[in-house]
């Protein structure tokens, strides 16, 4: 339980760092910390498979892509928001309201079995096979689309 609170605090602080850090690269590194601590929260919540996917895909794939994007576009300093307080309020007040609302609808507590990866894999290949295949097609299409969009070639006259 203490691990959960520590991870929640780390994730919240590094998420807040995304809003207030000056350069884009520092923001991306702050997001890495946030995503890794979210993976830890998944482990505490007994969603081990999702934790592994989170580390592999988010911390490994998406952040690599974003850091390469930052390096290629190599912007000068990101301009900070004009005043801190509006963005601060924009982040905190709705969060408090939304969290309170969600906290009110928690169902009765239940414990899960410690190892759900086997169940997860079987469900993924039986009941959720069709969305899985469609997801594969979506990844393929978006990969080809991203390659075509990003490739710079000279226009023919």
């Amino acid at each position: 339980m203490a691990a959960l609170y520590i991870l929640v605090i780390i994730a919240a602080l590094s998420g807040l760092g995304l809003l207030f850090v000056k350069t884009v690269l520092n923001a991306a590194l702050s997001l890495v910390i946030c995503l890794l601590s979210i993976a830890g929260i998944y482990i505490v919540l007994h969603a081990e498979f999702l934790a592994v996917v989170q580390i592999l895909v988010y911390a490994g794939g998406i952040l690599l892509l974003i850091i390469f994007g930052i390096m290629i576009t190599s912007t000068p300093q990101d301009v900070r928001p004009a005043s801190k307080w509006p963005s601060f309020l924009l982040a905190f007040l709705p969060a408090l309201m939304l969290g309170t609302c969600l906290n009110g609808v928690i169902p009765a507590e239940a414990t899960r079995s410690s190892n759900t990866i086997a169940t997860f894999g079987i469900e993924l290949m039986t009941q959720f096979a069709a969305p899985f295949e469609f997801g594969g097609v979506l990844v393929l299409v978006s990969m080809v689309g991203a390659m075509i969009t990003a490739s710079f070639q000279k226009q023919k006259q």
Binding site: M1, L4, Y5, V8, A11, G15, L18, L19, V24, A27, A28, L31, C34, I41, V44, L45, A47, F49, L50, V53, Q54, Y58, I62, L65, I66, F68, G69, I72, T73, T75, D78, V79, P81, P86, S87, L90, A91, P94, L96, G99, L102, N103, P107, E109, T111, S113, T116, T119, F120, L124, P131, G135, L138, S142, M143, G145, A146, M147, T149, A150
Partner: protein, 102 residues
């Protein structure tokens, strides 16, 4: 185990992501904010799913959200690179070719 703090964290990350998306003046920062919002939603799905024993629907939904987020990030970065190549800037305020001039 209570999932209350996780729900607060999910709401907090969603709102921080939204604030980043709105206030930051950089296309890549906007994409980062979007990723943070998706992670907040995912945390919600997993937290509510873990409250129901013997069901993996919450995790499954979160897995597909991650899948779509990957596609969105790839295409988004490609579009950002293309826009940067054309406009030589990544400030969305300066990308105003389609905007009506007064």
């Amino acid at each position: 185990m209570s999932v209350g703090p996780v729900l607060y964290l999910a709401a907090f990350l969603f709102c921080v992501g939204l604030a980043t998306l709105i206030t930051r003046r950089n296309l890549i920062m906007m994409l980062l904010g979007l990723e943070l919002m998706l992670n907040g939603a995912n945390l919600n799905l997993v937290a509510f799913g873990s409250a129901r024993a013997s069901s993996v629907e919450g995790e499954m939904f979160a897995l597909f959200v991650i899948l779509v987020a990957v596609c969105e990030a790839a295409v988004g970065i490609a579009i950002v690179l293309r826009v940067y190549h054309f406009f030589k800037t990544s400030d969305p305020g300066n990308i105003s070719q389609l905007k009506e001039r007064f």
